[in-house]
Amino acid sequence: MTDLLTWASDPARRRPLLRLLVAAQVLYVLGVAGAGYATTALGQHIVLATTPVDPRDLLYGDFVRLRYIISEAPLSQWHDAAPPKRRQGVFVLLATGPDSLSTTVGIYPKAPAAAPGQAVLRAWVTDVFRHSLALRFNLERYYVPEGSGLRLEKAGRRHPLRVHVSIAPWGQARIARVVDVGAVAGRK
């Protein structure tokens, strides 16, 4: 029996193996794109409010930096015996309020069961303070079409934006769109 390396590097096998590998890679990239559509189609929709950000901090090249109200939570919402650690991955249980905005109900080290009207969003602890902790959702970057970033930046400086997020049943999340509520209200 020949070893794996000799088997794989046999010139007779090179062409079929390369075809297989390239096909797998193409399918994989298509799969990533499919996961994007599926998250919107099948996912649970929540709306999050941002807080105004330091304008110098907001626009980075082709994406806008967002900061959410739920990015900071009091330590009383932490549900575990062990205190949270920096860099730790956590699960944030969100409930939709009367204004359709989602707010934090609790923060758990393991995924909690969500009741109807609730959603679970994954996050990381970035800082632990004495009475609160700071969270990161990896939703802090919104890639915007060319040129439109500046409008959002100016909007974000004056009033909070509303970010529509889809959470797939398998836990993946994506920003569906960002709405400038203040601008809509102002135009009316």
């Binding site: 390369l18 590998l21 390239v22 890679q25 990239v29 990533v32 994954r122 890639y143 994506r174």
Partner: protein, 426 residues
């Protein structure tokens, strides 16, 4: 031989009667002037065209429709792999491996850009893990040093991303690189890929220590495990190439300890619990010794001197003296081995290590007591004396080497005619 060298030197050879004029012409005909510059032009041209296409796409990327962006990425992926396979069939191996490597890079870029296109959040590294899998598989299929190198770099980059952004260590990535490319190294221990692989794995080991918030000295357990794997490798060159990076890391650590280890402030950073640390390092040591025994390489056993856990000593003078003794002993062991094997590269390395140890010793032990000018004077004299001594030893060793390796300088011991050099009495 370069054509230019031949052109300038050969008239003198004819004049001295070494070769005839016809032979000179024949030699010149054998090395025709190469039209290298002309061959480069189409390549440069295509690079420029490629760059312009890339910049057009990059400038309009955000404005393009999603489907077009996806098509562009997949098109370049297929194009790169297709061209790679085509040139491999044509026998242009280097170009083919370069294009396959480009395809691999485009694959990673596609994963990242498509996730960005759909604003997808990555919660674990599984998306990028596919990149490492593709790299390992392509390395196996093409057996190319370039692809191995690229895969090691991709593995290190994915792990860095995982630790920095996701806050966790991807054991899958580490195992994939260590096992996948480790097996490759085991079968094909080429020097460059071995060193690159060891460096990449050390990088991941360092990230693991950071994630676990462990004492940094734990780093040396995985690092020396890589070293120990080298001891079992049949090819001696491949083994030493893999062992280079862990040894450099251990040496730098010991050097740092000798230079800055005086104060006791580092104790919290360096001292893991004594028993578990020594047991793990001891286990790795046992594996390494068994390997050296099996392959008959006990001459490298003294490499382990650098791993003596001197940081458990109280700071101050005991530690300074102990680390210096270790540095000297290690330099001595390298020199002794080089003398035995008559290896001039190792001799140079040993001499450098010896000089470094001396410099540290001198700096540590005399700086406080000496006037500055005297410090530099004595230091200079010490280094000069040392270099003279080592050069002498060097020359003697090489002269004593068996006939084929000895330079024909009339210095062999049994040489009867030694016109200029007086006979040595060692």
């Amino acid at each position: 031989m370069s054509r230019k060298f031949l052109e300038t030197e050969s008239p003198a050879w004819v004049a001295e009667g070494l070769i005839s004029e016809e032979q000179r012409q024949k030699l010149l005909a054998r090395y025709p002037p190469e039209a290298q510059a002309l061959g480069l032009l189409p390549l440069l041209g295509s690079v420029l065209v490629g760059l312009s296409a890339l910049s057009v796409v990059a400038a309009n990327w955000q404005g393009l429709p999603a489907v077009l962006r996806l098509a562009l990425l997949l098109g370049s992926l297929l194009g790169a792999y297709g061209a790679g396979a085509y040139f491999r069939r044509r026998g242009n191996v280097d170009l083919s491996h370069g294009l396959i490597g480009l395809g691999l890079i485009v694959f990673g870029a596609s994963i990242i850009l498509v996730s960005q296109l759909y604003q997808l959040v990555g919660y674990d590294v599984s998306g990028l893990l596919a990149w490492v899998v593709a790299g390992v598989a392509l390395s196996y299929v093409y057996g190319s040093r370039l692809l191995v190198l690229l895969t090691v770099v991709i593995g290190a980059a994915v792990q860095t991303y995982c630790v920095e952004v996701l806050g966790s260590f991807s054991y899958a990535t580490a195992v994939l690189v260590a096992a996948g490319l480790g097996y490759y190294w085991w079968r094909r221990p080429e020097v460059v890929s071995s060193t690159v692989l060891a460096t990449g794995l050390l990088w991941q080991a360092g990230l693991l220590v950071i994630v676990l918030h462990a004492k940094i000295t734990w780093f040396f357990v995985p690092a020396m495990a890589i070293y120990a794997a080298g001891d079992w490798q049949q090819s001696r060159n491949g083994a030493r190439a893999l062992q280079g990076p862990p040894l450099v890391a251990a040496y730098l650590f010991m050097f740092g300890l000798a230079t800055f280890g005086e104060t006791d402030t580092y104790a919290n950073v360096l001292r893991p619990p004594l028993l578990p640390y020594l047991l793990s390092l001891g286990a790795v040591f046992a594996i390494s010794v068994a390997g050296k025994r099996a392959r008959g390489r006990f001459d490298t056993l003294l490499d382990w001197l650098l791993l003596l856990p001197g940081f458990y000593l109280p700071g101050g003078l005991p530690l300074a003296v102990a680390t210096l003794v270790v540095l000297y002993a290690h330099a001595g062991s390298v020199l002794a081995r080089a003398h035995r094997q008559q290896d001039s590269d190792q001799l140079t390395l040993g001499a450098v290590l010896f000089v470094v140890a001396t410099a540290v010793a001198y700096f540590k032990l005399t700086w406080a007591f000496l006037d500055k000018s005297l410090f530099f004077l004595l230091g200079g004299v010490l280094l000069l004396g040392l270099s003279w001594y080592l050069r002498r030893r060097n020359a003697q060793t090489l002269a004593a080497a068996p006939a084929p390796t000895a330079p024909a300088a009339g210095e062999a011991p049994d040489s009867t005619v030694a016109p200029e050099t007086p006979p040595r009495h060692d």
